[in-house]
């Protein structure tokens, strides 16, 4: 009653039905919206995310069954109740098969409607609780701003957590975009060191610039050195200095760095007084440093001095099971940065995301999601918003199995139909049930589909 605030969208082409039904539900304490046809309902759902829909079966243009199907494809957690004046066993069966919660034959008893809505509202609140629990569980999968459920990454987190509490030097290996700096920041945050986190990209500066950037300089040390300036080592005193792309440092600086790491003291450029600092160094590289050592491009002694605690971040393609979790996490971050509600990606968009190889790793994923959030009109991102090229399927005639070709073809057709199973089935010239079987067989949709099964006994 008045204590539940569940939100219901009434979809009917007849104004008097919308007005009277919305009025009736509002008096039961629900927050109610209306839509005059299928497209308006889908738009309202995208923009406002209604958890419960009461939809008339017979509407001109897009009928109730199609609305149901499109809603279930994009937001399987939505509860849809269909209403109709003409009940046939056939349509009722179809409705239930497509995931309708129930089927109301007009006119229905006031009590029946109120009880059904109360029951749905209660189930929705259980779903909300589950979502909260899932979020709590997600915290278990976190190390500061990093999230994972892959076993490999969990052990990376464990190592990083333990290492954070020491002052030993850490060397992070990983491809571009795997989150080396994010991990370094997490280690600093976890370390309890009271000084700042200072990051330097060693590849971005020339040797002399990097030298004065790291160690600072005395007045008159070189042309233009107008005043004594502190370097990053001093700035990071009692904190953490993150040296990114350490593999790109010149031989001279490699020696200077080795000295600081050994003696914990250094002189500013042009200075003679040694300055002692308490700095924890975290270095990172996307290169194979061992090979660089073998080839004589990187000092072996510096390599061992840095490589006290090595941590390797796997590329995203090796931890694809993390993608849904990362998408959730990144959308949460992007949503708060952009000041808008981002609820997730559609099943079809998730299929596209998991199929991608992500050479640019998590950074690329974040960029793609950010772009999608900018171009998307609703809180659920669609495949078209992502701007990813269609998944490259096997070349016709190539040595691919029939199953591979079928999987890629179905994925491509589903994408072109924006995840609309009905439309995809028509294009493929097979019935929907067969298509559902194939979608399940090839794992083309998120495992949420399981939750979308009709909850009715």
């Amino acid at each position: 009653m008045s204590d539940h605030k569940a939100r219901i969208l009434v979809v009917d082409d007849e104004e008097i039905v919308r007005e009277s039904l919305a009025g009736w539900l509002a008096k039961d304490g629900y927050s109610v919206g209306t839509a005059a046809d299928g497209p308006a309902a889908l738009e309202a759902l995208r923009a406002e995310g209604w958890p419960i829909l009461v939809v008339d079966l017979k509407m001109p243009g897009m009928d109730g069954l199609e609305v149901l199907e499109r809603v279930k494809a994009d937001r399987p957690e939505t509860t849809v109740v269909l209403m109709t004046a003409y009940a046939t066993v056939d349509t009722a069966v179809k409705a239930m098969k497509h995931g309708a919660y129930d089927y109301l034959i007009k006119p229905f008893d006031p009590e029946e409607l109120s009880l059904m809505m109360a029951k749905i509202a209660e189930q929705q609140s259980v779903l909300r609780e589950n979502a909260l629990l899932r979020r709590a569980l997600k915290r278990e999968y976190r190390f500061r701003d990093l999230v994972t459920r892959s076993r490999g990454m969990q052990s990376v987190f464990d190592l990083a957590r333990t290492a954070a509490r020491t002052s030993s030097t850490i060397l992070i290996f990983g491809e571009s975009g795997t989150g080396k700096e994010v991990l370094a920041r997490a280690i600093h945050a976890e370390s309890g060191r009271r000084g700042p986190f200072v990051a330097v990209s060693c590849a971005a500066l020339t040797e002399t610039l990097l030298e004065s950037e790291l160690f600072g300089y005395e007045k008159g040390a070189f042309t233009g050195a107008g005043a004594r300036t502190r370097g990053k080592f001093e700035a990071a005193d009692r904190g953490t200095l993150f040296l990114d792309e350490i593999g790109d440092v010149s031989p001279k600086l490699q020696m200077d760095l080795l000295r600081v790491l050994e003696e914990r003291r250094f002189c500013r450029v042009g200075g003679t007084d040694p300055i002692a600092v308490d700095v924890r160094v975290v270095a990172a590289t996307n290169r194979n440093l061992r090979e660089a050592v073998r080839e004589g491009r990187f000092r072996e002694d510096l390599y061992y001095r840095l490589n006290v605690i090595p941590i390797t971040l796997p590329p995203l393609r090796e931890r694809k099971e993390d993608i849904p979790l990362l998408v959730d996490h990144l959308l949460e971050v992007l949503g708060s940065e952009m000041g808008r509600r981002l609820e997730g990606v559609s099943a079809a968009a998730m299929t596209r995301i998991t199929a991608h190889d992500w050479p640019g790793n998590v950074r690329e994923l974040r960029n793609v999601l950010e772009r999608a959030a900018v171009v998307s009109s609703g809180p659920i991102l669609q495949p078209g918003d992502l701007g990813l090229d269609a998944e490259p399927g096997p070349v016709p005639g190539a040595a691919a199995s029939l199953e591979d070709v079928e999987r890629h073809h179905i994925a491509a057709v589903l994408d072109s139909a924006s995840g609309n199973v009905s439309r995809a089935a028509r294009i493929l010239d097979i019935d929907r049930v067969t298509l559902y079987h194939k979608i399940a067989k090839y794992g083309l949709r998120r495992d949420r589909t399981a939750e979308a099964e009709p909850m009715k006994k």
Partner: protein
């Protein structure tokens, strides 16, 4: 006068029924209420197939005739429905000006007093909606939803403390708006 009570039934108004209703509304809601003659009878509300009157159509008719800032509770002997439901005892525009209550299903042939008491409860219920009140879970509260005559008989004719508080707040806010305009 905040609430006008008016008869829009087909047969003549049962003796004193509306006066009793107005008196009860005044007592239950603390709002001034009086019986006024109807400005005609709503046409076009009858659905010949269902042989019932559309309460939503009646509300539209009433809304066009209600005085500015006033509220009207119309009483009828016609059986009412909204398109998706088999019947309703009444309907009101939530936070709006017009409400209608039917005695068709509330009437007790042997005891006129029982009919009057049921009507009074449902009139308070619909008038409560006009002041923005929604359904209430309290067993005795007039804002409890009734699916049967038995439900109507079980509940009381007054508001529970919570609904009373919400009503006072709504009336204070409404009064403030009126003064401001």
């Amino acid at each position: 006068m905040e609430i006008a009570v008016t008869w829009i039934g087909e047969s003549p108004e049962p003796d004193g029924l509306l006066r009793a209703t107005a008196t009860h509304l005044q007592r239950a809601l603390g709002a001034s209420a009086a019986v006024v003659p109807a400005a005609g009878r709503p046409s076009g509300a009858l659905d010949p197939r269902r042989r019932q009157h559309s309460s939503t159509a009646i509300l539209r008719w009433l809304q066009a005739r209600v005085e500015a800032a006033g509220k009207v509770v119309a009483v009828t002997d016609a059986d009412l429905f909204i398109p998706v439901l088999t019947f309703v005892y009444g309907e009101a525009q939530l936070g709006g000006p017009a409400a209608v209550v039917s005695i068709a299903r509330l009437r007790d042939a042997r005891a006129a007093a029982l009919t009057a008491s049921r009507l009074a409860k449902e009139a308070v219920h619909e008038a409560g909606h006009l002041f923005g009140l929604v359904h209430c879970g309290e067993e005795r509260c007039a804002m409890r939803r009734s699916a049967s005559v038995h439900d109507v008989d079980v509940k009381g004719g007054l508001l529970c403390a919570g609904c009373r508080l919400r009503l006072d707040e709504a009336r204070a806010a409404g009064g403030a708006t009126e003064e401001a305009t």
